[in-house]
Amino acid sequence: MTSLVVVSAGLRVPSTTAQLADQLSAAAARELGLLESPVEVTRVEVRDHAHAIADALLTGFPTGSLAEAVETISAADALVIVTPTFQASYSGLFKAFFDLIPSLAGVPVLLAATGGTERHSLVLEYALRPLVSYLGGVSVPTGVYAATADLGGPGAPKLGMRIDRAAAELATLTAGSPLPRRRQDDFADVTPFEEQLRRLRP
């Protein structure tokens, strides 16, 4: 079973961010489905956890369904993340949510964003990609940015092509397992005390 998790940080209903997430989810599921094992898709709507995210930032631990969402993402084989562009970056809620994710080490990640104008399309490169790199994820080369003009008018077919290309890259990276998944367990692999002491000897 390949676990695909799609994180969408749109705020309103209907949301263009959610629409883009739907299209990416379908394309990624299709491409991953060409691999050997069946695909299980889990959708995380960040808005559903807004209050819990604020609480978690204050207390230091996520609770309830937010804790489940964090765990689902930590166990994902492939990830699609979609945020609206606010004030020239990812939305604050999107970032606050990722502040609670301990690691994406070795996980292929498809980056996507929506915005009112195509002039913000580099948000994928200067905001999302460094975030994923910091978390140890492997972001796919093709990011998907959808401006208002891409969702309706003549730009729409080109957006579809980018979605397909990004989804295929996501599947290739997932199949190739480019990096070992490091889910370190500090409690299983504790550093023996003699080793801790030895490191301090002059």
Binding site: L58, G60, F61, V190, P192, F193, R199, L200
Partner: protein
């Protein structure tokens, strides 16, 4: 004092009372902590522990032995401890001396809990760097452990100037070091450290979900056995806890809510209901506190020390003293009986000075008799 110890720990926060609007002066808060410790003894509790703090909004002792020595003179029976003593930013030589001196004044009614301290700015005030936190805890305790057990020490480390032929004075009472608990919320290195020395492990068990406590205690017990101190069940475990009680559960919730909503650490965050569900905080009747507390055993096993936090978030002294009355009259006697009945055979009692002296003497006579037969 058989079996488990029950007591309270105070972090000494000076928080405005959200109900009456007043903020106690430092003097008032400091004297309140003394009164709370005396009251803890009066109602029959076994332990009073005070935090160490160096910054507002706290009026906890920056050097706990100052308070503990004062309390030693004002009390008769209660064990005095810390929650926590900073092993990172204090000089281990000074810790060895001050705690041994206070141990004499208290006739052995003293132990201590070591912690690293999670307030970053404190480290540079003492010439340290928070990034060295674990290293400092490891090296400083290694030296402190030696200072209490050996004389004429020559020592060299990474974070302190070397020692040559040094003997810490006074020597610990009866030649037995104060018992040490190591406290940590989620650093496996500290559970490992406690296990290595066969010392106690304490989990603060407030503010966080019980899973954190469970995984730390499991690791500590497993490694305690690994280092040959006994079975995992014989490891010495202490837990914190946070309670607010009234005879009627709804009254407790109504009275505590404004304090919860404005409390340091979690104030302005989750609801009282969420926090009660997700962490060990219990707000309700004495019976509810008894049931929840007995449940701690389900995920840490039989343990030796239970400390409650009852005096924070601006609660007035009068209310705190009432909480102590409820603990002493209605909660702790039942917990003592119930935990004792549940306790598996072979689980050790909470260590005290006299039990440590007896264990040392037993080990000595064992060695002597072996030498005699050789």
């Amino acid at each position: 004092m058989a079996g488990m110890q029950f007591g309270i720990f105070s972090v000494g926060d000076v928080t405005p009372d959200p109900v009456n609007g007043g903020t106690p002066s430092e003097r008032t808060r400091i004297k309140a902590m003394v009164r709370i410790a005396e009251k803890a003894e009066e109602v029959g509790l076994d332990v009073f522990a005070a935090g160490e703090h160096h910054n507002p909004p706290f009026a906890a002792p920056p050097n706990p032995p100052v308070l503990l020595a004062h309390l030693a003179a004002k009390t008769e029976k209660i064990v005095l401890s810390t929650a926590t003593t900073l092993i990172t930013t204090n000089d281990p030589v000074r810790l060895a001396e001050d705690y041994a001196y206070a141990q004499h004044l208290a006739d052995g009614r003293l132990d201590l809990m070591l912690g690293r301290g999670n307030t970053g700015p404190v480290y540079p005030w003492f010439g340290k760097d928070i990034r060295d936190g674990i290293e400092l805890a490891v090296e400083n305790y290694s030296l402190l452990h030696q200072l209490w057990r050996e004389e004429n020490i020559s020592w060299q480390g990474k974070h302190r100037t070397p020692l040559h032929g040094f003997t810490a004075t006074p020597r610990p009472l009866d030649g037995v070091a104060p018992f040490v608990w190591h406290g940590s919320i989620r650093s496996p290195e500290i559970a490992e450290q406690a296990a290595y020395y066969g010392d106690g492990f304490f989990h603060n068990h407030i503010f966080w979900p019980p899973q954190h406590t469970q995984q730390m205690v499991e690791l500590y017990r497993r490694r305690f056995a690994h280092y040959g101190h006994g079975t995992p069940e014989q490891a010495i475990v202490g837990l914190g806890g946070q309670v607010f009680m009234r005879a009627n559960s709804q009254d407790a919730i109504r009275e505590f809510r404004p304090y919860f909503d404005r409390a340091p650490v979690y104030g302005g965050g989750p609801s009282l209901e969420t926090f009660t569900r997700e962490t060990p905080l219990t707000v309700g009747s004495p019976q509810e506190v008894i049931e929840r507390t007995l449940g701690f055993r389900d995920y840490v096993g039989d343990y030796q020390r239970q400390l409650f936090l009852i005096d924070h978030a601006g609660l007035p002294l009068k209310t705190v003293l009432e909480q102590l009355d409820i603990l002493g009259e209605e909660v702790v006697p039942v917990l003592r009986k119930e935990f004792e009945a549940l306790r598996a055979p072979g689980v050790p009692d909470a260590p005290t000075h006299s039990s440590l002296v007896a264990a040392r003497d037993a080990a000595l006579s064992e060695t002597l008799s072996q030498e005699g037969t050789r």
